[in-house]
Amino acid sequence: MKLPTAARLLRLATAGSVDDGKSSLVGRLLHDSRALLADQLAAVEKASRARGLTDRLDLSLFTDGLRAEREQGITIDVAYRYFATAERTFVLADTPGHVQYTRNTVTGMSTAQAAVILVDIRNGVVEQTRRHATVAALLGVPHIVLAVNKMDLVDFDEVVFKQVAADFTAYAGRLGVPDITAIPLSARHGDNVVDASARTPWYHGPTLLAHLEQLPVGRDPGTEALRYPVQYVVQAPGEGRSARWHTGQLASGVVRAGDAVIVLPAGHRTEVAAVEHLGRPVDAAFAPMSIAVLLADDIDVARGDLIVAAAAEQPTVTRQLDATVAWLADRPARAGDRVLVKHNTRTVRARLAEVRHRLAIDSLAHVPTDVLRLNDIGAVTLRLAGDVVTDPYADHRLTGSFLVIDEHDGTTLAAGLVGDPLAAQMERCRPA
């Protein structure tokens, strides 16, 4: 079956603990789907021989791109890989698994439609696994695949696999992840990665690649509320002040010429006079198109404003953010800190009014604290110097997310999610 065109593109993130074989899995996926070309393979062969490997390729050497990574045999940074099959085009964010690099997992998951989390069958579900699942759930990744690796080291034992799969499904199920699938595989030997393994006759599910090719990840902007952040204003040459086109990328929904809209935070009501899709006049445009919009009235609209449909559910205009943050910097978060908040196309000064609690990864309990450190996930309140227009992250990924930035050196301090998306998801998935 051919998928609709947009669903051909799948954004994927992988995560695993150290030594779970994640680089090997990614290398295997690329190798067996024939995304690696001869010169890349020759480089891996040469490097494998230099390490004394004569009988096989060390596929992890392909994904370790930086000198320090090859020298230390670890992965430091998120790497993006691209491969395509007859069914799909994949953008893969390969995120390292060290505890101190959890910020990379947050980065990779923020754009992912599916997450592949690796475990070593001999270790089963460990704290890092739960952390990766929690981050994926928090960031709203709808599909999680548990890749149970190194099956060859337990003689492809069905009982051990089922136990690990059950442990994980119990934890991820509590998080409210809508779709969880476990697959037994060996990245090193290629079992069930691209080609089905003869050594797991008891497993009747798809291989990892076949599963990823079939995931339903289409969205339907026709059913979404309009959210159009104004990014940049351009003036058509030779025309008067009225011909101000508001460019931007649709965050969600559909916009049509003639639509009644509201420009927030000011609340001006007007109509859409014309829509252009990168220079081509169109009657309607939908997310995630980048477009330009001409409004019927000459009102003051600038970068940072949000255009929404007058008839649809309205976002919140606020100077206070009650939010969940993943703290990504060495500098800890404390009440009173002065920061910048970048939300959509608007950046405002802010003060960290309160650190409310930290999330305990194992128990998912809220631990009272007044400080968040690197890799902590917690709840905070921010007071802003100007209005922002937000939705809960659980409802709108783009209008519900923001960055916390160090006002002095520009460092990205935290990923911010409006509201408590994890609680919202757990609530939504709880059986009635």
Binding site: P4, T5, A6, R8, L37, A38, D39, Q40, F62, T63, D64, G65, L66, R67, I76, D77, V78, A79, Y80, Y82, V91, R103, N104, V106, T107, S110, T111, G218, D220, P221, G222, Q231, Y232, V234, Q235, A236, P237, A243, W245, T247, Q249, L278, G279, P288, S290, A292, R303, L328, L340, K342, T345, L398, S401, L403, I405, D409, G410, T411, T412, A415
Partner: protein, 300 residues
């Protein structure tokens, strides 16, 4: 109403336009690097579309090694006038004459471009430099952000990169620092060709098969030119070739090809067993970390 779906190339196009507009909105003095290579042609085309019905709000910068394919220089001037943008040329020859850099023994000028580029960034006080680099090109590039901060010396520190979340790009920088921005990060070589074909975008003729006098070195066909001389035993013959990348004439190799149309080029790449850089760039073959080392020093 049926489900609204945006084709893969339009998703990439929308993302690139978003990035280009973020740069125009958040920086005071952006510039777009333009070599006449297909990726920079694509980037300029996307910039042209992103700011319609207005004009591209920043100039383009050509770092001129002096070792150009003449066809590419002609093409550059045509493109600059078609998109109505201002061209700034930074010359490697002038850097050599001023004693800023020294000619290398092997004659290639690609690595020398870094000094010329950084000097131009300082002179014009550019705070954002748009480059056509793609993550599928090379493994050090696979780890680079869309917004990539450079220090006072133009250096890239892969261990101190900012996390990049959702489509929220952080362009904050201190005086003296600048940001390299890569709007084509998520495009693959095939995507670029399919899109160029779809949009009927003009490219330098050397991307398509033509007759040229070449000689064989390090597994590549190098063009006979005033900038490079065949060594003993290297025989010049006329062959039908095309280029997969465009760089300094002295280190960019051609591949034997009969592809004269976009469709034939796409078919050829799909069947190719070598990456574009592996096939045709001597500068990337210097060591396993050749690109990483050049990037750290401030290369594109």
């Amino acid at each position: 109403m049926s489900t609204l779906t945006l084709p893969h190339l339009d998703v990439l196009e929308a993302e690139s336009a978003h990035i280009l507009r973020e740069v125009a909105a958040e920086f005071e003095r952006p510039v777009l690097l333009f070599s006449g290579g297909k990726d920079s042609v694509l980037m300029l085309h996307l910039a042209g579309k992103a700011f319609l019905p207005g004009r591209v709000p920043f100039p383009v910068l050509h770092v001129d090694t002096g070792h150009n394919f003449p066809e590419v220089l002609e093409f550059r001037d045509r493109a600059v006038s078609a998109y109505d943008v201002r061209l700034i040329v930074a010359s490697v020859q002038e850097s050599i004459d001023a004693g800023r850099v020294r000619e290398r023994a092997d004659g290639t000028r690609n690595p020398l471009q870094t000094v010329t580029l950084l000097d131009a960034i300082n002179e014009h006080r550019f705070d954002a430099v748009l480059g056509g680099g793609r993550r599928d090109e090379e493994k050090a590039r696979a780890k680079e952000r869309v917004f990539s901060l450079r220090d006072d010396f133009g250096q890239w520190d892969p261990r101190r990169q900012r996390p990049e979340l959702w489509s929220l790009y952080n362009g904050r920088h201190r005086p003296g620092e600048h940001v390299r921005v890569f709007p084509l990060s998520n495009w693959t070589e095939i995507d670029v060709w399919e899109y160029l074909d779809r949009e009927r975008i003009d490219l330098p003729e050397i991307y398509f098969a033509h007759r040229r006098r070449v000689f064989h070195r390090d597994g590549m066909w190098l063009a006979e030119s005033p900038h490079i001389t065949p060594r003993d035993g290297e025989v010049v013959t006329e062959r039908t070739v095309r280029y997969r990348t465009v760089g300094d004439m002295s280190c960019t190799g051609a591949v034997e090809s009969t592809a004269t149309t976009f469709e034939e080029v796409v078919a050829e790449i799909a069947a190719s067993t070598l990456t574009e850089r592996g096939a045709t760039r001597a500068d990337d073959r210097l060591s396993e970390a050749a690109m990483e080392d050049r990037k750290r020093e401030g290369y594109f």
